[in-house]
């Protein structure tokens, strides 16, 4: 690790996608900012300026005030590498870019499906899906953990929740990858990132348009039916908002949970003592899941825009300026976490904010926790050995911290032998 003095406010970059692809999260830079400039004005090429917020307490303060800090005007800090014109009509209107009072009305349409009580009945299905995915790699001595395991489970769970038939899962998988990873060459199906994203968005919209027609006629016990027949302020949901809703559900629960899973296994490979600890103490699974989510913090940032002049940590923020909330930095805040750079599956308390907080608190947090609990419980029972079999390749994105490929050498036991 280089010394802190090698960093300076003028040169540090915390938003360039290349930086994330090459080095992973800029924890060294964030640590420096938390210490020296926790509310930091950033001006980078091809990026609208923003305040970088790196302290846990400040992200909480901002997230608690959804009328002072809006999501709508600017959802995240985007590096406009292609020099795209700002499109006159936004491509979506979903929970993440809505604000009060509409936001709460829309969220209430599905929120009961995602409470702890709401997700509990899904456990047997999640267990089946996970078992099947692990069965498929049992007997092999090598796999790409991302392609073969971690990407498959969250997608299958969401597809199941939405009532998408198995035969269409691959297609959903492709659209999701292309939309969220459009800035990564590997996932570009068009000539530019924008074309790739537009194409996959249209693909999804068309797919769900057909499904909605069907579910309006014959409602089923799936979330597609809940949204298709849902009401907002007493009115049916308009088509654009409805399609955006499905889009959000497909995208939000996928890369995030996938990367928590991949990053979680990587953490265990790097900390074998913690892996042994989990294998010996299965009751630690709940706190292990929280620590995996803190450690990986898959969502790098969301932004908010101030509606009035205000002050954060003594720094004046003007109306119309945006603040960028760096969740992974908050989750290493030395004022909140003891030894924040230690991966400790018994950590308690663990008040991480990897799922955000307040008005936009991750709708899928309970589902994600359940998935991770099932996945790591089964891995702890079945995975006798895992080590890296090649370099970890990271996604070129400063929004979701992704691992694209993680080749591992492994020994997976059959489920029966594990039981």
């Amino acid at each position: 690790m280089e010394t802190e003095s090698a960093l300076s406010l003028e040169s540090l970059n915390i938003i360039g996608p290349d930086h994330y692809a090459k080095n992973g999260y800029p924890h060294r830079e964030w640590t420096y900012l938390r210490k020296h400039k926790p509310v930091f004005w950033c001006e980078y090429p091809k990026t609208d300026p923003f305040w970088a917020i790196t302290k846990h307490a400040d992200i909480i303060q901002i997230s608690k005030q959804p009328r002072l800090f809006l999501n709508g005007p600017r959802l995240l800090v985007f590096v406009n590498e292609m020099g795209l014109e700002r499109s006159p009509t936004p491509p979506f209107r979903h929970l993440l870019d809505m604000d009060p009072p509409d936001h709460g009305e829309y969220r209430a349409v599905v929120s009961r499906r995602f409470t702890p009580r709401g997700v509990r009945p899904l456990q047997p299905e999640i267990e089946n899906i996970t078992r099947q995915v692990l069965d498929d790699v049992t007997g092999r001595d090598k796999c790409d953990f991302v392609l073969d395991v971690s990407s498959k489970i969250p997608l299958a769970v969401i597809a199941e929740l939405l009532g998408v038939p198995h035969k269409d899962w691959e297609q959903l998988f492709r659209w999701t990858n292309e939309t969220i990873g459009g800035g990564d060459p590997e996932f570009q199906a068009g000539t530019t990132a924008q074309e790739t994203m537009d194409r996959s968005r249209l693909g999804l919209f068309q797919y769900f348009t057909d499904m909605v027609v069907e579910r309006m006629k014959h409602p089923a016990n799936d979330i597609t039916s809940v949204v298709a027949n849902g009401k907002v302020n007493g009115q049916p949901i308009p088509q654009f908002e409805m399609l955006s809703y499905y889009f959000l559900l497909v995208v939000a629960g996928n890369e995030t949970t996938r990367n928590a899973t991949t990053g979680g296994l990587l953490a265990f490979i790097e900390h074998p003592d913690q892996w042994q600890k989990l294998k010996r103490n299965p009751e630690l699974i709940d706190s292990a899941v929280e620590e995996i989510v803190r450690w990986t913090t898959p969502v790098i940032q969301f932004a908010r825009t101030a509606t009035e002049d205000t002050v954060i940590r003594g720094q004046k923020i003007k109306a119309g300026e945006s603040v960028c909330l760096f969740y992974p930095s908050a989750n290493r805040d030395e004022e909140v976490f003891e030894q924040p750079f230690k991966f400790d599956i018994g950590r308690d308390p663990n008040p991480h904010i990897a799922f955000g907080l307040g008005e936009h608190f991750c709708l899928g947090a309970n589902l994600a926790r359940l998935e991770l609990k099932v996945i790591f419980s089964q891995l702890a029972q079945r995975l006798d050995h895992a080590e890296l079999a090649g370099p970890v390749e990271r996604l070129r994105s400063s929004f979701v911290g992704g691992i694209k490929h993680m080749p591992i050498r492994m020994k997976m036991k059959p489920a029966a032998a594990a039981a």
Binding site: K64, R112, P116
Partner: protein
């Protein structure tokens, strides 16, 4: 001390109940309900912690 749970925000995450079971109860409607409207002063710390930990920031604690 007065405690209010914003029923529109609350989504039954049960952090409040885990933190201060004497005060909060999450029922079948997936909403947190107050077991006591004006919890005694000795519970202030616990109730404040519940408010802090609530993922939806649905709990407010005021003085009267």
């Amino acid at each position: 001390m007065k405690v209010v749970v914003d029923q529109k925000l609350c989504e039954g995450n049960t952090k409040c109940q885990q933190t201060a079971p004497e005060v909060f109860e999450v029922r079948d409607d997936d909403k947190s309900h107050l077991l006591i409207d004006n919890p005694p002063e000795r519970m202030r710390e616990k109730v404040k912690l519940a408010a802090k930990l609530c993922p939806r920031q649905a709990i407010t604690v005021s003085d009267d």
